[in-house]
Each structure stands twice: as C-alpha cells, then as structure tokens.
Symmetry: C2
Subunit: 125 residues, 2 copies
Amino acid sequence: MASKPLSDKTMELVAERFRVLGDPVRLRLLQALEPGEKSVAELVEATGASQANVSKHLQLLLRAGVVERRREGLFVYYSIRDARVFQLCDVVCGSLAEHYARELSELPATPATRTKRARRPGRSN
Amino acid sequence: MASKPLSDKTMELVAERFRVLGDPVRLRLLQALEPGEKSVAELVEATGASQANVSKHLQLLLRAGVVERRREGLFVYYSIRDARVFQLCDVVCGSLAEHYARELSELPATPATRTKRARRPGRSN
DNA sequence: CAACTATATAACTAGATGGTAGTATAGTTG
DNA sequence: CAACTATACTACCATCTAGTTATATAGTTG
C-alpha cells in the first residue's frame, strides 16, 4: 500500500475492514473459529456473550466476508472464509509485544511501576 | 495468534489497535507519512482535513505508538514508529481485492451489475 | 514583551456502535 | 399442525467517536 494514492472509497473500505476487527467479541469469535467451523451455540459458549450479541457480530463478520455460514438442520455453522485475519492478528500481536517491550525498556528499571500511573516526569513526549 | 487463548485484556489491546487503523483519515495520515516524516501543516495539506482534526488523529496515533513526534522550532514533525502498519494495510488490501474478485466471479456475467452502478471499466482503484 | 506562527486542547454536536430484551423465523419432531 | 429448538432480527439505550469552532500553548522574531 501507500505506493499509490488510494481513492477515498478504497480508503474507507480498508478502514472498515480494520473496524470489523476492532472489537474483542469479534476477535474471540474468530479465535474460536480458527480450529474449524462451529455452530452459533458453540460460539455463544466459547465467547460467553449472549446469543443475540453473538448473532449480531456474526452477521457483521459475514457481511464483511470474513466468515461464511452453512445451515444444517436447525444448526448454522460458521467458519473462516478469509484466513488472512489471523495473519493480521499475528502482526498486531507482534507489534504490541514490541511496543510494550520498548515501553518497558524506557522505564527506570523499577519493575513495579506500570500501567496505572506509569510514565514518570522524564520524557516530555 | 489463536494458538493460545489470549486474555481478555490482550484481546482488548489487539482490538484497540485495529480500531486505531479503522478510520480513513488516520489511514491517509499514515499513507502520507510513509515516504518520511512530515510536519502537521504538511499533513493537513496532504489529507485535506482541518488542522484541529489532524492534530486530534495524530495524538491518537501517537498514543497508540504507531507514530512518533519530534519538535523543531515552531514545527512538529511526525513519522512512522511502527512500520508494520503498512504490512497490515497490504494484507487488508489483498484481502479486499480477493473479496471483490470473488464477488464479481459469483455474479452472472453481466458487467453492469454492481454495488451502486459504480466502477467504470478503467482503473480498479 | 508584543505580535505572530504552528500545533494542541476543550467543549460541543451528530451519528455510529455494542449490548440487551423481546420477538420473529426456519427447521425438526411428535 | 402444535410444540419445540436454534438462530436472526427489531427496538431501544448507553456509550463512543469524528468533526467543528473557539481557545490555549509553545516557540519565534521584532
């Protein structure tokens, strides 16, 4: 990307795709689907979210083309349609890991200072 | 990812990172920064957004650790801190391309049938 | 220090989004 | 067809977010 100036429409599409991944429940759903397809009930169980909520998020993932569905009797099975989402998650995880590692290494070696009221006067940033 | 059941906190962090990329203005900013650092004024010019808006988005990207800033006199220069964002965008773009290609190939070969009646033959971008 | 420039922040508004409760639909089974 | 089960949808509320305008801050220059 970024080699060519993407159109506004394309930009919005890319942003939308990122937004689809920008919710912990949806990430949990994808994670639960990674080993293979699951019914809605199983996904409800796996995520701990309500049925209505899971269903709603699944529709979103479906419309985005990230998952696909298949009906079998009373059950509906969802599965990953675009496995690149995992690649995306991997990159983000790596990114976060590095981010926090770097943040730690910038701290004054007092291992108890973190997260809550961290970042002493030091850097002006 | 998905090999281990990430904690809720981690999940939220990953989701948040995706959300940071889930806005077209921020994507434009990143795109504008890809060749190298730029001042806020240049970014305002490059994106066409208002100064206040650009500033706001930049703070968001800054806090997320995606960009970094450097002051020089009156000017503040922003640059990419975590280049993996481009990797992420590439993956998404590929994903979208495939998605649309597949969608097209599923249609009944009538080239005029599309999203809104958009997308003339020429460039796909 | 006064006037000026570049950037950041505050307060506000309109629209999007996530969650829930309740209901509707599709499919099964007696 | 009635009762039942699994999933989807609707309406609603609370919260968040992007954008705007106006103002504040940091740094420069006369």
